[in-house]
């Protein structure tokens, strides 16, 4: 029971990070119907900017952890958002109206280029860092096993919940959210009614990238080490989460993220940790085969 509770806590933490990345996939897919394969790379870049940000905070002598986290959070969100914007502007926007698979192929190119760019300028070695929060407390003990919650886990879940609430509000209540939903339903009609479609799509990428950057920062703080290749696996798992929850649905992305976190952690805890990634991929395949519209998604009707 104690072991189970501990794994549950770990799984929720991991699931929160996947959920944050998955939101970016789901929003982009919802609005322009493409799989933004480079999204995992933006997450990786967010993690790197956070690493550098924490180091700068250390150099400037900012000792207080909450201040440092807040500063780095804002910095990573802002500068990763520029990446999201630039990728959309250069690699995807010129392809609107091209054949169906063109954006996906372009996105794979962006992904390869970004990985190698970071490897070139930052080196291939794993980078340790981001260990600003330590400690925790024992929740309860049973069977001689302490169930422990770290402050970091609480921060991760808290940041995720706050961001998701803010995000839901943004989509449901603000003019920007209204424009996004309009573009999602019918881009041409939205344009006719005076919505600046290009700008709305750009903003979608910017928001998705900012959330991915937050996930990157939390990932760095949680694992304490990053390298240029973390975006590939995390990206695929987050995409799986988005599909599992129902692509295009925000609560679905969060739910999917949690489920993927649960599956991965429990698989590693009770079966074998070597095959935990296989489990994630297998889930992706199974979901797409049996329930392509996901748990909370709407079934898609193909029009001729």
């Amino acid at each position: 029971m104690a072991y189970f509770s501990q794994q549950l806590i770990n799984a929720i933490t991991l699931g929160a990070i996947y959920g944050l990345i998955a939101v970016g996939y789901t929003m982009v897919y919802g609005i322009i119907g493409m799989i933004n394969f480079a999204h995992g790379e933006v997450f990786m870049i967010g993690a790197f900017i956070s690493l550098i940000g924490f180091m700068i905070c250390g150099l400037l002598g900012i000792g207080s952890a909450p201040v440092a986290i807040l500063l780095v959070l804002l910095m990573a969100m802002a500068f990763s958002a520029v990446y999201g914007w630039a990728i959309e502007r250069t690699a995807y926007r010129p392809l609107r109206g091209s054949f169906r698979l063109a954006p996906l192929i372009s996105a794979i190119g962006v992904s390869i280029a970004l990985q190698n760019y970071v490897q070139l300028v930052q080196g291939a070695r794993p980078k340790p860092g981001g260990d600003v929060v330590s400690g925790g407390f024992n929740l309860f003990s049973a069977d001689g096993f302490d169930v422990r919650v770290t402050w970091l886990q609480i921060i991760i879940v808290l940041v995720t919940v706050v961001l998701m609430m803010g995000f839901t509000w943004l989509i449901a209540r603000t003019p920007l959210g209204r424009r996004q939903r309009a573009c999602e339903q019918d881009m041409k009609m939205a344009a006719l009614l005076g919505v600046n479609v290009d700008r709305t799509i750009s903003l979608t990428f910017v928001l998705g990238a900012a959330l991915a950057a937050v996930a990157g920062m939390l990932f760095l703080m949680y694992y304490g080490v990053i390298d240029f290749f973390i975006g590939f696996l995390a990206g695929i798992k987050a995409f799986t989460a988005a599909v599992l929850g129902g692509i295009g649905s925000l609560p679905g992305a969060m739910l999917g993220g949690l489920l993927i976190g649960l599956i991965e952690v429990f698989w590693a805890a009770y079966f074998s940790s070597e095959y935990k990634d296989v489990a994630a991929f297998a889930i992706l395949v199974l979901v797409l085969i049996f329930r392509p519209s996901g748990l909370l998604g709407k079934p898609e009707i193909e029009k001729v």
Binding site: I35, M55, W85, L104, I108, A113, Q122, I236, D277, L284
Partner: protein
């Protein structure tokens, strides 16, 4: 004029600003290991960043000038950048010389492009151009083939070139195999390398553990890969294009992870070594033959030379690749081949006409997988050592890039693209990591500027009005 120039300057400034924002942390603060204790320090690269940002400013300015019709100033700017890049000027790093010069080359190309394009259109439209174009389309394949067959006997056939030739031909074959799936049937397969792995491991295991020879295993490996294609394809082929892409990617990774972790069968990350090479009528390519066998040099009565093995491998892969090509060409004339292409164009219409989409896609998937299996077992026989590292996602991406760059569905385009994407980077191995960076950027640029590939023209399988021999339609 002044207003236009100022708006161009503003635009270039904005681009440079964005570039600076992109680079300030990732490029400006290079993290390096400090001393022996666990920790990182900074190695500041602001000078590099500044040069790069200034280059981007002028590059963008030049592009806007060219777009506004001011091609001469743009080309002068480009020439100045090339000169700056090539000059012995002290730039912070060697890479920046290349960066500045390449930016200049881009501007010059942009300036010359419209003239070159006009000239080419005019030439292609002229009477001799039409004749030449037809002859080219008809004979270029045969010419390439003749060159490929003769290659080992020309002065170019040294060790290095032959190695490169084998490598390029392997990718040509993989490209042709994937072309069946992506180009003809229109299914985006991001896990193609999985079938390559199945072929390679089939040969490696059957030869090292059961002592079977290359020629016996070759068809078995192909069938194994095709079987995997059917098994994997059956549940997923009713998915839509981009979902299918991601699921195939997932399958590719699953197969790699299983190979990596199934120690008893595959020896895990350590891989399988001492795989026997292919034999020529039972004779081995080695200086001394194992007991009961003879070497090729004994059989043919020629002195032993290490390059014979390479030449033999070269002809095997040439032969396998040609079979792939021939098979594809013939398939396109069969009902199933036509169904592939029809399915690519419009699935709903195909359904209405009574074509079973799942079966049709499955055949394409299986045939494509089979050729990957052949290529895989050739790869294992050539390398004599395989490990899961050879079958990562990036390989699938490279093969896909070859097909896309070649112009999906074009056979000769695949050859051109393989030479460009595999041959050139191998030649410039010193570029190291830059080549994968360039590779990714190239994929984006192709999609933006030439989404239909190098050889955009595709000979239709059927013509409503066949071309008459006289030339008119």
């Amino acid at each position: 004029m002044g207003a236009r120039l100022s708006s161009m300057l503003k635009d270039a400034g904005l681009t440079a600003f964005v570039a600076a924002a992109l680079g300030i942390f990732i490029v400006g603060f290079r993290t390096v290991d400090v001393g022996s204790r666990k920790g990182l320090g900074f190695d500041y690269q602001f000078a590099d960043l500044a040069v790069a940002v200034v280059t981007i400013f002028f590059g963008r300015l030049g592009l806007s000038l060219a777009a506004a019709g001011l091609r001469w100033p743009s080309m002068v700017l480009g020439a100045a950048m090339i000169a700056a890049g090539a000059s012995p000027l002290e730039l912070p790093s060697g890479f920046l010389h290349w960066f500045v010069a390449l930016g200049g080359v881009l501007l010059v190309i942009r300036g010359v492009w419209p003239w070159a394009n006009d000239a080419m259109t005019a030439a292609a439209g002229s009477r001799s151009g039409v004749v030449l174009g037809r002859a080219g389309a008809k004979w270029s394949g045969w010419l390439l083939l003749a060159a490929a067959v003769a290659m080992p006997f020309t002065p170019f056939g040294d060790q290095k070139t032959m190695d490169l030739g084998v490598l390029i031909l392997t990718y040509v074959m993989l490209g042709w195999g994937l072309n069946i799936v992506v180009g003809l049937a229109g299914l985006l397969d991001l896990g193609y390398v999985a079938f390559y792995a199945v072929g390679a491991y089939s040969y490696a295991l059957l030869s090292t553990q059961h002592g079977l020879g290359f020629w016996v295993v070759l068809p078995i490996a192909g069938m194994m890969a095709a079987l995997f294609g059917v098994l994997l394809g059956f549940p997923v082929l009713r998915l839509r294009g981009d979902y299918l892409a991601i699921v195939t990617l997932g399958f590719g990774e699953i197969i790699r992870l299983v190979i990596l972790n199934w120690f008893d069968l595959t020896n895990g990350p350590a891989g399988i070594g001492s795989i026997p090479g292919p034999t020529l009528f039972g004779a081995v390519f080695a200086e001394t033959a194992p007991a009961g066998k003879q070497t090729v040099s004994q059989m043919l009565g020629i002195p032993f030379d290490g390059i014979h093995r390479l030449i033999f491998l070269y002809y095997i892969i040439l032969f396998l690749a040609l079979i792939t090509n021939l098979f594809t060409q013939r398939m396109r004339r069969l009902p199933v081949g036509r169904a592939w292409e029809a399915l690519r164009e419009d699935e709903t219409a195909c359904r209405a006409l009574g074509i079973n989409p799942t079966n049709t896609k499955l055949t394409a998937f299986a045939v494509g997988a089979m050729f990957a299996g052949f290529a895989g077992s050739f790869f294992a026989a050539k390398q004599r050592f395989i490990s899961p590292e050879s079958f990562v996602f990036i390989e699938s991406a490279i093969i896909l890039a070859i097909v896309v760059l070649g112009g999906m569905g074009s056979q000769i385009g695949v050859v051109l693209a393989a030479v460009l994407l595999i041959g050139l980077p191998e030649w410039f191995r010193d570029l190291g990591n830059y080549r994968m960076l360039a590779f990714g950027l190239a994929m984006v640029l192709i999609m933006v500027f030439r989404p239909r590939g190098l050889v955009a023209h595709r000979e239709p399988s059927l013509r409503l009005h066949p071309i008459k021999p006289g030339g008119g339609r």
